[in-house]
């Protein structure tokens, strides 16, 4: 498996986009910590950037890379390699390079400036989101044969998870505000990895005190070790499920 991933990684490093991405993350993180007096404020701004930028870059980069390496995949298919191995090597190559960009670009500054529990939560959430959205991007690109369609689909998914979903949740909460919704909001947050990540990080910060009763409930749940396990579990499902569906589709596909 690593043999193939090595060629994927090599190809990605050649394109230099990943290096630019690492630099961008690094500069943003360092300047956040430099500008803000308090590290916790810097962390809050950093979190907002990560929750928007990371999924977007993971989706777009993965989709474009998949379509660009179509020839490579085709060539590998005429070799004695299973389709599973080919797709998983692609996934490993892309997610590892995006993950190392994140760990260098954000992980190092966070560890240097604020190696607190919140910092660790940011690093964990960022890593998880990278894996999740790479996986979702694979599903989008395996499903659509056409490059434009695939990228469009990926962008639509990003809009959904980053913007539309929150609107829908608010709508539900306002409509049913007469009912106790604490449990429901907990379930709803699990259906969107970005939301889950946001809650997970926020509850490590002091601002959670401002969130009232729901915040208290969240703090109770996510603060415990079962909450941590819950987050890890849901993130893992989000990373594995789309990839598994993509793999099934890829196995049946004509290339």
């Amino acid at each position: 498996m690593m043999k193939l991933s090595r060629y994927v990684l090599y190809d990605i490093l050649r394109s230099k986009i990943i290096i630019a991405y690492t630099l961008f993350l690094f500069i943003v993180s360092v300047s956040m910590f430099q500008m803000e007096e308090e590290n916790s404020k810097a962390m809050l701004s950093l979190m907002n950037i990560i929750l928007i930028v990371l999924p977007l870059v993971s989706l777009v980069f993965t989709t474009i890379h998949y379509y660009n390496s179509y020839e490579f995949i085709e060539l590998m298919l005429s070799q004695p390699l299973s389709r599973k191995r080919i797709l998983l090597s692609e996934y490993a190559g892309i997610s590892l390079s995006l993950l190392s960009s994140f760990l260098i670009g954000v992980g190092i500054p966070v560890v240097l400036y604020a190696a607190t529990e919140t910092g660790m939560a940011i690093i964990f959430t960022g890593s998880a989101l990278t894996m999740v959205f790479t996986s979702i991007a694979f599903l989008a690109s395996v499903s659509a044969r056409d490059k434009a369609k695939g990228i469009g689909f990926a962008l639509l998914l990003w809009f959904y998870f980053a913007l539309i979903y929150d609107g829908l949740v608010l709508l539900i909460l306002f409509t049913f505000s007469d009912y106790p919704l604490e449990k429901l909001t907990l379930v709803l947050s699990a259906l969107n990895p970005i939301d889950l990540g946001r809650i997970f990080i926020m509850l490590k910060m002091d601002v959670s005190a401002l969130m009232g009763y729901t915040g208290a409930l969240y703090k109770d749940f996510f603060g415990s070790s079962s909450g941590l396990l819950f987050t890890i579990g849901i993130m893992t499902v989000w990373a594995l499920l789309p990839l598994w569906v993509a793999l099934r589709k890829f196995k049946k596909k004509d290339l």
Binding site: K3, L4, Y7, D11, R14, S15, N68, S69, Y70, E71, F72, E74, L75, M76, L77, S78, Q79, P80, L81, S82, R83, K251, K252, K253, D254, L255
Partner: protein
Amino acid sequence: MIRIEHINKRFKKLKALNDISVSFEKGQVISLIGPNGSGKTTLIKSILGMAKPDSGKIYFNNECINGGFNYRNEIGYMPQIGRYPDNMKIGQLFSMLKNIRNTMEENIDNELIREFDLCPMFEKPMRTLSGGTRQKVSAAIAFLFNPPVLILDEPTAGLDPLSSEILKEKIIKEKQKGKLILITSHILSDLDELTTHVMYLQDGKMQFFKNIETLREDTGEIKLGKAIARIMKGEDPTGNFISEVLNKKI
């Protein structure tokens, strides 16, 4: 060696393969002939597992290939249009394939790389290559691992006469080693000296699969091109490709 049983493949409305059953044995050189879009490449891709037939089975050495991949160790494939990673250099491409296949250096057949004089171009990225050079690279890859089965999709298209001759020589050499070789081509004169069997496809249907000797006897023609033309005329008075296409248009 390769046995195909009742395979069907449909692309939306188009029936690309229609109930094809055939069996290829060692030592045969099979010419796969038919008009454009008759299903030749789809048949080849099905054998390679790149296209998945809707129904039917394909056996390689008596084992059903159904999703397997190890059998591809024994196949060298030259695609019709060789598409390769743009950034990769020719040399890297060869070393990567060797690395993936894990073949001993003594089993590697570098003859075509030498004959086509590809070594001086090892540092060139694939995207800068001309169509003909790409075709040479594809051919060199197909023969590289000395496989017992060779599948060549339009091998001489786009090659200059000299290289085309080198490739034909190489195919004859491999034929003498008793390999199974499957060739599609529209240049029937190229196939004349190579082929032992002819398989004719039309609209996804196999019209016939014949030994070349029988074909020659049946038609009384020595040249393959003329023999095929005669057969087609016998079955259908307007039986050559061009008039058929024209008739459909009208």
